[in-house]
């Protein structure tokens, strides 16, 4: 019985994980369409793109990149922890990931308000419409990820996870890595080489 229950649980885990991956690929195509728009606008309005992108704060963008990379580390460690039954470590790493995600959004808040106070809006130019839409959509994804991570943390604190029951953590972590992946491409394309 124990043996059969283990195999069924493993199968459910693998199936759920597959579902998450399919969702992630749909997200990749979503952002992929926006990257295609970026590519088109960049080829058509090259000088304007270059001139406008210089107004972006590269330092803040770089800091945000590092923040997200650190958050990917912590969420990956959270999964590694629960795989080994280390509930405390799971909780700490989930909390750190959430903290770093909040730092990212706070930075974005400063960036956006600085732009708005300089009269720079999505309607200002095609570069800035691309910039605001892509980073805005990405920011919304970060927010959604924080909600999921928050839920995972609450469940973790209540002791709901174990080495044979942590698919919710794994799925949330996979989503969070995707959010980091999108930013890995957004940062150079918007801030560095536009």
């Amino acid at each position: 019985m124990e043996h059969v229950a283990g195999a069924e649980e493993f199968h459910r885990f693998e199936t759920s994980k597959m579902g998450v991956w399919v969702f992630l690929f749909s997200e990749i195509l979503l952002f992929g369409g926006l990257f295609a728009a970026y590519a088109v606008f960049r080829s058509l309005f090259f000088e304007e793109f270059h001139r406008d992108h210089l107004q972006l704060d590269v330092t803040l963008g770089a800091i945000n990149t590092v923040v997200l990379l650190c958050s990917s580390l912590t969420v990956a460690l959270a999964v590694a922890a629960i795989q080994r039954g280390k509930t405390r470590l799971l909780q700490i790493n989930l909390a750190l990931t959430i903290l770093l995600g909040i730092v990212f959004l706070v930075n974005k808040y400063f960036e956006y308000s600085a732009k708005f106070s300089h009269d720079i809006f999505p309607s200002t130019s095609s570069f800035f419409s691309i910039y605001f839409v892509m980073t805005g959509l990405h920011g919304l994804h970060v927010l959604g990820g924080l909600v999921a991570l928050g839920l995972a943390l609450v469940l973790a604190v209540r002791g709901r996870f174990s080495p044979t029951n942590y698919i919710m953590v794994e799925g949330t972590a996979l989503y969070w890595h995707l959010v980091d992946l999108v930013w890995i491409y957004l940062f150079p394309l918007l801030y560095l080489v536009a």
Partner: protein, 99 residues
């Protein structure tokens, strides 16, 4: 690599900080390379470095290296859908809109 109790593949802890360190170094590299004028090669270089970073995150953080042919099949499919999508759209735009 598979944990005997649960059957899930685990990686030793040190892998994670090691990959993270590599990602940080590659980020620094991205910024430095962007500061050098490479003519038309700046964008391909930026994308190339970003792709290495993405591969590291996918393989090690997302455990893609342990996944079976279904996940890999979807991964390859979406990437091979993405590249023509972007390239053909840009080509189309340049041919039709840039008069």
């Amino acid at each position: 690599m598979a944990d005997p109790a649960s059957g899930h593949s685990t990686q030793p802890y040190w892998i994670y900080p090691a990959v993270w360190g590599t990602l940080i170094v590659l980020t620094v590299l991205t910024v430095l390379v962007a500061g050098v004028d490479l003519g038309g090669w700046n964008v391909p270089m930026a994308i190339a470095i970003a792709t290495v970073k993405a591969a590291l995150v996918a393989l090690f953080f997302m455990h893609l290296r342990f996944e079976g042919r279904w996940v890999w099949g979807f991964a390859v499919f979406s990437v091979f859908l993405l590249f023509p999508l972007i390239i053909l759209t840009v080509t189309d735009a340049l041919l039709k809109l840039a008069r």
